[in-house]
Symmetry: none
Subunit: 243 residues, 2 copies
């Protein structure tokens, strides 16, 4: 069953990438050897999937390729419902509402057989008492990220030092009881994380910033991944705090 699944996934993967994808990338994503990817691609082409391979470039799929009808299974529904619930418990009202409306849209398309499954869902998320409250508006921060708008705030670091920061907001990261705002700090000229619950006097600045590769989210995530790989586990949350 592994192969059949993978073939499907490869098609989906290629469809949602807009650029060429190399066999090496696919091999990493699907955790198989490149040789296997080459065989898979060949099999897909043999069965009529319009994949184009070019040496030195990678693979491209013709978007027009038509996919078979698909539905969620019971487990997938349960996973989605749980995810929606967690979002509701860990973000703000606005975001929770969006999660709910997405969920309703999904429900609306379900056939009767699956609606019954919904009533049997037995995995929930409860609002946690461990939740650490924050002052800044979650949705406001998200808006600044979207609009590439510089933000300014005072930050109380774990050494209880107060500093004023101006940063390019890049992402909000849920780190269990706390939320982190990841950004490029204009003061330190480097990436930094800030705990939402330690941010005060949050304000949007008029100034927007433009995409710069070495100050982008992609670069940041890449760096974090590299760090993860080269250190042992068992650290606590403190290390993620900024200074």
């Amino acid at each position: 069953m592994r192969k059949a699944e993978r073939l499907n996934e490869i098609v989906h993967y290629l469809r949602r990438m807009h650029q060429a994808v190399t066999a090496q990338t696919l091999a990493l994503v699907f955790e198989v050897s490149q040789r296997t990817i080459y065989r898979d691609i060949q099999d897909l082409i043999d069965t009529g999937v319009p994949i184009l391979g070019e040496a030195g470039v990678g693979y491209l799929i013709d978007k027009k390729y038509h996919l078979p009808p698909v539905m969620f299974d019971a487990d997938e529904l349960e996973a989605i419902a749980l995810g929606i619930g967690m979002v509701g418990n860990w973000t703000d009202k606005h975001f929770a509402k969006k999660a709910q409306s997405a969920y309703r849209k999904i429900q609306a398309t379900l056939p009767d057989t699956l609606i019954n499954e919904l009533h049997q869902i037995s995995t929930f998320s409860a609002p946690s008492h461990y939740k650490i409250p924050w002052e800044v508006s979650f949705s406001e921060v998200r808006e600044c990220i979207r609009r590439k708008q510089l933000v300014k705030f005072t930050y109380l670091d774990l050494n209880e030092q107060l500093t004023v920061r101006i940063i390019r907001p890049l992402a909000l990261i849920s780190f269990s009881p706390v939320w982190l705002l990841a950004g490029w700090c204009e003061l330190r000229k480097d990436f930094r994380n800030f705990r939402l619950d330690r941010i005060a006097k949050f304000e949007k600045l008029e100034r927007r910033f433009t995409h710069e590769k070495d100050k982008s989210l992609t670069t940041y995530l890449k760096r974090v991944n590299e760090q993860e790989e080269t250190r042992f586990k068992g650290n606590d949350c403190k290390e993620l705090d900024s200074n």
Copy 2:
């Protein structure tokens, strides 16, 4: 390669036929045993293809069940993605996989305009260092809930007392760093919560239980809600532990 191809062909075959097709027919057409057909159909259903099987009749595919002809907006997509991420970080591998595959199915139906939004998602969930590990298999517990199968285990309560419990498992509840198994305790003749990380020697019993209203999840949830309303906030997790 035979199987992957056959799975595709079966879908197309069922779509062409407008009446029910028996497993025997499929077995003849594809020159495999009926047993293999049954397995294939199961695999297809597992991946979300809406095939309906009826004893005495045969198989039908429902063409209506194309996935959400639904338009999500950018926020909804972000909320779903975040939820899926949280599920991945807080449950087990099996469940996380299901969440992922659901997400991919949603992605597969998105029009190009929305696919661009996916690349701009900036709200994530990081695997938490606060996560408290548990011994029992998350998926195994879920299976017992589904199958209404009694379970037995030893439980270490917060007073460090060890007891052996036999319960009707009703639901898994995420309570931030810990997961709780909610159930009807056959020993105490009442509803109880058990922290997954304090459960040991988990075993499924042969005996199944039948639905009894006053021992059901619905009743339990109703009771919890009533309790919530009549007490103040600020309690910590201890109260949810059982004894």
